[in-house]
């Protein structure tokens, strides 16, 4: 970005003027000379008070229940190190070279092995490797959505996907969830309502397993029904499944894609089952869609990073990756227990939360009258952080809720974090009580004040 005001100007010109005519360093400025040139989709990209507050959450004094960083400290770094050493020594010129836009063929075979755990029988030709599954959300939206197209999402939905849908100027319609996941009748009605209004629904975006942020899982009974509803309405399903193998007590759920090869695009990721730094995810799509995704991938990145793909591939080859996932599951289960027990012990009775059976998150709804976003500054003062619920809605809803993550802090820190959070809630209740609880809490539609990915 160019600088707009030179640091120095000629001496003697102490006063001046208007834009374009004054001496350098004086005049009118917006500090961004491109301000009238940005695309319409850039409009929401602004600094935000909430994001600024997250900046404090990265300090060690703060118990961050806000981040979504997986805890990868249990990874066998020696094994990974040897594999990468071997990769550079023996296949370095391949690993450091451009690769195919669709992704490394061997890795795509291994991805099919991973998906088989969830009942998916797929061919490696139908897999497109992406830069994390986040890029897969982007590519799918890019090839399907024109501005104004409708994307149906759960309420709440993943903040990162909402950001993508916003960037492509989609209209998000939220559909209710309950403890068994997406509510079929609510989905049926929403699809009918939107279609009756003559609007085009491009896809239903869903996270069936250990939902981010809601923590719930779509029940087995509902899976067929959801697929049937989408089939009837002729609406594509975008199944985002980063946490599917991180269930605590059960076998992996059968993926939606396993029973509907044509109507579902499935997204997977190694970020939570291995490590997010490699940025390797994938999309499994019907062949025609896959062709478009490959072309879109080529225009976006030429090819997904070869080095990362081959490193992940080598890890899968040389390490007991399933055993590693089992260890991750145990560790996250212990943290889930720490959080839920702390909530049970300390939270005011009027607060509600769910008990996730896998994944990283608890969705907590505050006692009536409280606004999670308005509470965040107080929480920062008390050295605890969470993500306000409004981040997970495109329409300003969710103010009474928050996402609490248990993936990164230790069980002891989680308990301490909940203790601090309870203190914050009690103080806020007192202030609300003083001023009356029926305060208007306006949401800002279309602002995604989520934390950055490097937040612990």
């Amino acid at each position: 970005m160019p600088e707009h005001l030179p640091r120095l100007r000629a001496p003697g010109a102490a006063t001046g003027g208007v834009a374009g005519s004054g001496p350098a360093g004086t005049g009118s400025t917006r500090l961004d000379s491109y301000v009238d040139r940005y695309a319409a989709r850039t409009r929401g990209m602004t600094a935000s008070e909430i994001r600024a507050l997250f900046s404090v959450a990265s300090r060690p004094e703060v118990v961050s229940l806000a981040g979504g960083m997986p805890n990868i400290s249990g990874l066998p770094l020696d094994v990974v190190g040897d594999a990468i050493d071997d990769l550079v020594r023996h296949r370095g010129t391949v690993a450091m070279q451009y690769g195919s836009g669709q992704g490394d063929p061997r890795l795509r075979e291994q991805i099919c092995d991973v998906m088989r755990l969830e009942g998916i029988e797929a061919h490696p030709d139908d897999v497109v490797v992406t830069v994390g599954s986040q890029q897969a959300v982007d590519l799918v939206t890019r090839i399907f959505c024109d501005p104004g197209d409708v994307v149906v999402c759960e309420a709440p939905s993943y903040v990162g996907a909402l950001g993508v849908f916003k960037a492509y100027q989609c209209d998000v319609v939220h559909v209710e969830m309950d403890r068994h996941g997406l509510v079929p009748q609510a989905l049926r009605e929403a699809l009918a309502h939107v279609q009756a209004a003559g609007r085009r629904i491009k896809f239903v975006y869903t996270i069936p397993n250990y939902h981010n942020p809601a923590g719930v899982t779509l029940s087995t009974e509902r899976r067929a029904e959801i697929l049937e509803i989408c089939r009837e309405a002729d609406v594509l399903v975008l199944e985002d499944n980063p946490y599917g193998l991180l269930g605590f007590d059960e076998e992996p759920y059968r993926a939606l894609r396993a029973d509907e090869p044509d109507g579902v695009i499935y997204l997977g990721s190694f970020s939570k089952t291995f490590a997010p730094g490699f940025r390797v995810g994938w999309a499994l799509a019907p062949h025609a869609v896959r062709e478009k995704l490959v072309l879109a991938q080529e225009s976006a990145t030429l090819c997904p990073p070869s080095f990362s793909q081959l490193a992940v591939s080598a890890y899968l080859d040389k390490h007991d990756w399933l055993g590693q996932i089992k260890q991750f599951r145990e560790m996250y289960r212990e943290r889930r227990d720490a959080m839920v027990n702390a909530l049970d012990d300390m939270m005011p009775a009027a607060a509600r939360w769910n008990v996730p059976t896998g994944g990283f998150y608890v969705w907590l709804t505050l006692p009536p009258g409280l606004d999670a976003k308005a509470m965040l500054p107080r929480a920062v003062t008390s050295r605890v952080a969470f993500v306000p619920g409004t981040a997970f809605f495109a329409d300003g809803f969710g103010s009474q809720s928050m996402r609490l993550s248990y993936c990164y802090p230790t069980p002891e820190r989680i308990r301490e974090g909940v203790r601090r959070l309870v203190g914050v809630i009690e103080e806020e209740l007192e202030v609300r009580h003083t001023f009356g609880t029926a305060l208007p809490t306006p949401g800002v539609p279309g602002r995604y004040d989520g934390p950055t990915t490097d937040l612990t």
Binding site: R378, V380, F435
Partner: protein, 354 residues
């Protein structure tokens, strides 16, 4: 963009020998940025910018957060000077500077007692009012008062005394965090709750409509002087956090398009505020010029933002100065006279806390 040597000469000549003082190159400076306040992010931005500008003057600069390791580092690897760019609590309330005095490291900026007075908006307002500066009618109350006396009755009294429109702010803090303008009485409870989320005490102030301006005051050894007045016109009408830190969302005029006498008055008020609070080296006064030509004092910052979108660097540029050279000059002054030549050693703090 690196200034040419010709440009440097021009500044040196114009500024009467300040800038690029001989013997200062290679000086070891620690820029403190980050901290645990709500304004951590702003502070990190300020720190990055100042560190880069200082390095261009030849200083050896390290940017450090405030943490449990800081004192050890300052003791064992003592820098020539510290530039605290911590905003908000502990950065601007004088606490960190008090510690710098304990370990006897020179630093740029006001001394702790002056910081304490300036950072507390109600205290600062009383001090500058006693010096004859116009301040909007205001009242400062902790949350307990509302709880004990009944919020409705207290708010009614506030509205009838202060009048509408008004603005509610946390008594301590910056970057407009927790500030809400209230134009209808019904919005007051929400605004109070918003301010109390940032701290236990709120300042309720009559909202003066007019031109919002910022006036930096610097003292590089020859006494405090005002830099060009910057006027601020946020697109949405409110200079809130988003408007402050999103490039492009606010229009700045520098020097402000004000009649000469008003610009001079703004400069006088800013210098007077700086002096009456006993500030040192650098401050920024936020003022409002109303349509009648009265210059109202809102607040003063002892660690003004020095980010890419902050007003002080704009003003510094309009004055024909280089930000790095200016900070290097302030470092020079701080090192030469660490005990701190302030205009008044202690601020005229009123006996009773308003």
């Amino acid at each position: 963009m690196t200034p040419t040597s010709e440009d440097r000469d021009a500044v040196t000549t114009r500024a009467g020998g300040t800038g690029g003082r001989s013997g200062d190159a290679g000086r070891r400076v620690v820029v403190l940025a980050g901290g645990l306040s709500h304004e951590r992010d702003v502070s990190l931005r300020s720190g990055r910018r100042v560190a880069e500008a200082l390095r261009e003057t030849g200083a050896e600069v390290e940017v450090r957060d405030v943490d449990a390791d800081l004192l050890r580092v300052l003791r064992e690897d003592r820098p020539d000077c510290v530039v605290p760019l911590l905003h908000g609590e502990s950065g601007e309330d004088g606490a960190v500077r008090e510690v710098l005095e304990l370990v006897d490291v020179p630093y740029v900026g006001s001394r702790p007692s002056a910081c304490r007075a300036a950072f507390d908006k109600p205290v600062a307002i009383s001090v500058v009012a006693r010096a004859g500066i116009a301040v909007p009618r205001s009242v400062t109350l902790p949350h307990e008062t509302f709880r004990e006396l009944g919020a409705a009755a207290v708010m009614e009294a506030i509205v009838s005394s202060v009048g509408l429109p008004l603005i509610v702010k946390p008594a301590r803090g910056g970057s407009a965090l927790g500030c809400t303008a209230v134009r209808e009485e019904s919005a007051l409870p929400g605004a109070m709750v918003g301010a109390f989320a940032y701290g236990p005490t709120a300042l309720v102030q009559r909202l003066v409509e007019g031109t919002e301006v910022a006036v930096p005051v610097v003292d590089t050894g020859d006494g405090p002087r005002a830099l060009p007045v910057v006027s601020i016109e946020p697109d949405g009408g409110v200079y809130d956090y988003t408007a402050r830190y999103t490039a492009g969302s606010t229009r700045f005029e520098v020097p402000a398009k004000l009649p000469d006498d008003l610009a001079t008055e703004c400069a006088r008020v800013a210098v007077l505020a700086h002096e009456s609070l006993g500030l040192r080296h650098l401050s920024r006064s936020d003022l409002i010029v109303d349509p009648d030509g009265t210059v109202w004092f809102l607040e003063v910052n002892v660690a003004p933002g020095l980010t890419e979108t902050s007003t002080v660097p704009l003003s510094v540029g309009a004055a024909g100065l280089d930000l790095g050279e200016l900070v290097a000059d302030l470092v020079h002054v701080a090192v030469s006279d660490p005990s701190g030549a302030t205009t008044r050693a202690t601020p005229a703090i009123p006996q009773t806390n308003p």
